[in-house]
């Protein structure tokens, strides 16, 4: 059994909040709950949770804004609770830095599986480090440095980089990456991969709009190019 994780649930509807709090507690998590974005940000700073489950539709500052504010300083995993799977919500949410999303009404088992999958991404591995130009990936310390500077990567971004760097020069399809990084079944949402690749490029590439490390392979997916 994994150690008890500490979750922060930000959800404005009382019944949903209480219900999810009950269910997640029952799944073995420690849960703190907030009813608004402001409360959530305050609780986040006070209690430093391991992961945030964030509703998109919030009174006051909405879920996207909460997500963006947290990402300015912290890289902890964020899972969005959205209303529709094919909505613009998902795209905006992923762009504002969320690691994964679930669609309401969500079964607690599904949410729990996603939470555990996201948390596993940050687990250390016992292997060496590798370097790609100025980019150094230290697998044992789970750190990435670029030109000697520590990069702040979310666990998902880190895991994506690790999976790509495990097979340098080899293209991985979006669906493969979804299974490796997100641990989704075959029917994952490829937008997750695209959004995460965009964020990762913004952090590791010299010119994010002209990537040299993480290349798009048309019709296939992405690959990490070894340094020339």
């Amino acid at each position: 059994m994994t150690p008890v994780s500490f979750l922060l649930l930000i959800e404005d509807d009382d019944a949903i909040r209480t219900g999810l709090e009950l269910a997640l507690t029952r799944q073995g998590h420690r849960v703190a709950a907030a009813a608004s974005g402001e409360d959530g940000l305050r609780l986040f700073k006070e209690q430093r949770p391991d992961l945030i489950v964030l509703d998109v539709m919030l009174p006051g500052i909405d879920g996207f804004e909460v997500c963006r504010r947290i990402r300015r300083t912290d890289q902890l995993p964020i899972i969005l609770l959205t209303a529709r799977s094919d909505d613009i919500d998902v795209v905006v949410g992923l762009e504002s830095g969320a690691d994964d999303y679930v669609v309401k009404p969500v079964q607690p088992r599904v949410l729990d599986a996603r939470i555990r999958a996201v948390l596993r991404r940050g687990e250390r591995e016992s292997s060496d480090s590798s370097a790609y130009g100025g980019l150094v990936i230290d697998r044992s310390a789970m750190t990435v440095t670029k030109d000697g500077q520590d990069l702040q990567l979310t666990p998902t971004e880190l895991r994506l980089l690790l999976e790509l760097s495990r097979r340098p020069g080899q293209a991985l399809s979006r669906q493969q990456l979804l299974r490796l990084v997100w641990e989704h079944d075959y029917l994952g949402d490829s937008r997750l991969v695209d959004a995460c690749v965009q964020r990762l490029r913004a952090k590791v590439e010299d010119v994010p709009s002209a990537p040299t490390l993480i290349r798009t392979v048309r019709g296939v997916g992405y690959r990490l190019d070894p340094p020339a």
């Binding site: 509807d13 019944a15 949903i16 219900g19 009404p105 079964q107 979006r174 669906q175 029917l187 798009t216």
Partner: protein, 503 residues
């Protein structure tokens, strides 16, 4: 009446309609009027002219002949010889007008006294004329002379006027031959001119009819075009109204009709949009309580075994019905998304075999489904939407048909599609139900109020196939029992709204 009988009749009536079109009828009427008018006018003109020309020519010739005869007859002896007669003929003929003279005397019958013996002799004198000339008439108060000048028109190598009279009551008879060739030529020229004029009138009338029909038919055709466009759904079609005639009034009526039609359509679609929005809003609103309920159903389910036997079934009902309700609301929202056109494809290239395998695995159907899917058929699809389609088709086959459910995948290179067929071993679909299987909430058995499905599954599956540019068809297996649902999808998405990035 059977169709076979009506078909040729319809063809005949179509060709008759073409013949009796307004344009053809107008031209025919104009041409007929022009023809009658021109022909009668030309005919009258021709006959009047002919009469006048001939009368003038023959009057002048006969008067001249008479004067010349009167002048010269005095020199003739009482018993003229052939030579006398010949010189008389020559002298009379030399009066200036171009005619020839033949003098006949019964006392010298073999004598040919002619001004041009090669051309004209006594033999060419018509018998009827000779009889009239030689026959004396009774004299009386109205007729002082016994002998008169008679004439006749004959054809002797050309039209000729032949006139004759007794020179003296007991003496020789003189005949005049005057050629009417010039008059005939004049009349022929006139006839040709009149014919040409008639022809011109006909052509003119046809052009006029064409112009007249165009002024009528152009607005009619515009009206027809506008009506067709209106029928095709271009409700903003209007006509420019010019003038105040009947056609303008018709155009005005058309515009008013189109106006009220488009108003009604707008009102109807506004009402429809309103009701769609209502369903969308409603299902959205239902979701909040459902999310809370779903969140705690797992807890209830886990604890159900430990509950009082009286309460446990109640808890199980709450749990199962919450899931059903949740499923129903989810499907309802999906349907409203399709209706509103907001459903989007998140396409990715996937291996169809993998996709179907994961669909079957994820629902623990592996033992109940026979899968015949070669690996390597790659299609650009929305994996989650396709999973919904497959789950609905296979689930439906398992529920209504029963095992063995066979899923077969093949690639159609010609049509550039992938074809997935799902067949079952059940009783098949009744023929009267077949057209309705994709209808929403359609229940094959009306008595069965409750069904396990939401009643939207196949409808959503079809909509999902359509949004991919594909289709689903339902049929019964031709060789034996069971229903076959066939899903056809293009291998690539034409609009390619996939996750391809700018670079």
């Amino acid at each position: 009446m059977t169709d076979q009988q009506t078909a040729p009749r319809r063809a005949r009536s179509a060709s008759w309609r073409r013949l009796s079109s307004l344009r053809v009828r107008l031209i025919a009427v104009f041409a007929a009027v022009a023809l009658v008018t021109a022909v009668s006018a030309s005919g009258i003109a021709y006959w009047l002219n002919r009469d006048a020309v001939l009368k003038r020519a023959q009057n002048s010739a006969l008067n001249d002949f008479r004067d010349s005869l009167t002048r010269n007859v005095g020199q003739l002896p009482l018993q003229p010889s052939c030579q006398d007669l010949k010189s008389l003929a020559s002298q009379v003929a030399s009066s200036g007008l171009a005619y020839d003279v033949v003098v006949v005397d019964d006392s010298v019958p073999e004598c040919t006294a002619s001004s041009d013996p090669a051309m004209f002799t006594a033999r060419q004198i018509p018998a009827a004329l000779a009889a009239a000339v030689n026959g004396p008439r009774e004299t009386g108060p109205g007729n002082p002379y016994e002998y008169h000048l008679y004439w006749q028109r004959v054809n002797l190598a050309g039209p000729y006027l032949v006139g004759g009279t007794k020179v003296v009551p007991t003496g020789p008879t003189a005949y005049v031959f005057k050629s009417l060739q010039n008059e005939r030529a004049d009349l022929n020229t006139l006839g040709v001119s009149l014919a040409v004029a008639t022809l011109l009138a006909l052509v003119g009338s046809a052009l006029l009819a064409q112009a007249a029909s165009a002024t009528v038919l152009r607005p009619v055709r515009r009206l027809g075009d506008a009506a067709r466009r209106l029928g095709e759904g271009e409700l903003d079609t209007r006509l420019d109204v010019e003038g105040n005639d009947e056609l303008a009034e018709l155009a005005r009526t058309f515009n008013r009709t189109a106006e009220s039609l488009s108003e009604q359509v707008a009102e109807l679609s506004a009402r429809e949009a309103q009701s769609r929005r209502f369903v969308a809003d409603m299902s959205h609103e239902l979701r909040t309580p459902l999310t809370a309920m779903t969140a705690v159903t797992d807890i209830l389910e886990d604890e159900a075994d430990a509950l009082d036997p009286m309460i446990e079934p109640a808890v199980r009902i709450v749990v199962s019905e919450t899931r059903r309700l949740s499923n129903l609301v989810e499907n309802l929202m999906e349907v409203t998304r399709f209706d509103a056109g907001t459903a989007k494809l998140v396409a990715d290239e996937v291996d169809m075999a993998d996709l179907i395998m994961s669909c079957i695995d994820g629902r623990a159907w592996y033992d109940a489904v026979e899968l015949d899917a070669p690996r390597g058929i790659l299609a650009v699809v929305d994996p989650r939407r396709l999973d919904v389609v497959l789950a609905n088709l296979i689930g439906n086959a398992l529920k209504h048909g029963g095992s063995p459910v066979k899923v077969k995948v093949r690639q159609d290179d010609e049509a550039h599609t992938v074809v997935v067929s799902v067949s079952d071993g059940g009783p098949g679909i009744p023929e009267d139900v077949l057209p309705h299987v994709f209808d929403r909430f359609y229940k094959a058995d009306k008595g069965r109020a409750r069904s396990e499905g939401s009643g939207l599954g196949l409808s959503i599956a079809e909509a999902n196939a359509r949004i991919h540019g594909g289709d689903i068809t339902a049929a019964n297996n031709p060789d034996g029992a069971g229903a076959v649902f066939t899903l056809t999808l293009p291998l690539t998405q034409p609009p390619a709204p996939g996750p391809e990035e700018a670079r």
